[in-house]
């Protein structure tokens, strides 16, 4: 182990970049997992009224539509939220 290089706890530039990239990746994965949980719950509630012994084709269609529409909705909410944030920031000046 090399103790002669000064602060052994400081990260080199490459290590830093790798760490940041790693953190970003983990955040993305965590976000995707969170979204999946949300979608599953919301779409189950919407599409499966009475759980049967198998998934009917209409329930399956509903679930497919629901998941696609959930992501459409997420985009709309994201856009509206960003616009609103920018407006608030502009007002705060």
């Amino acid at each position: 182990m090399d103790y002669s290089s000064g602060q052994k706890s400081a990260l080199g530039a490459n290590e830093r970049a790798a760490l940041m990239s790693n953190i970003k990746q983990q955040l993305d994965v965590a976000h995707a997992q969170e979204l999946l949980q949300q979608v599953s719950e919301k779409c189950f509630k919407m599409c499966i009224q009475k759980p049967g012994s198998s998934l009917s084709s209409s329930d399956q269609k509903c679930l497919t539509y629901c998941m696609d529409r959930y992501f459409d909705a997420f985009n709309i909410v994201g856009r509206a939220y960003s616009q609103r944030l920018q407006k608030e920031l502009a007002n705060a000046r």
Partner: protein, 78 residues
């Protein structure tokens, strides 16, 4: 260890996380409010508008809630 509070890249990561959490929260509430008539192969204009308005009104609620709480904390409650 580098001081994370002064680190702009770390701040950016934290901001990303906070943004996602806020959007998630709004998405959950506004989906329930706006998708009461079910789903189809596309979002109707009515549903799209509802989601936009809902997001704006939710932020209003946060802004008002924050200012009321601040008033109480600074002893200015009625």
């Amino acid at each position: 260890m580098d001081n994370m509070n002064n680190d702009p890249e770390m701040q950016q990561m934290l901001a990303r996380q906070e943004l996602f959490e806020n959007m998630s929260r709004i998405q959950k509430v506004c989906w329930d409010k706006c998708m009461t008539e079910g789903v189809d192969s596309y979002l109707s204009p009515k549903q799209e508008k509802c989601l936009e308005y809902c997001t704006d009104r939710f932020v209003d609620a946060i802004v008002i809630g924050t200012s009321r709480i601040n008033q109480r904390l600074s002893g200015g409650s009625r």
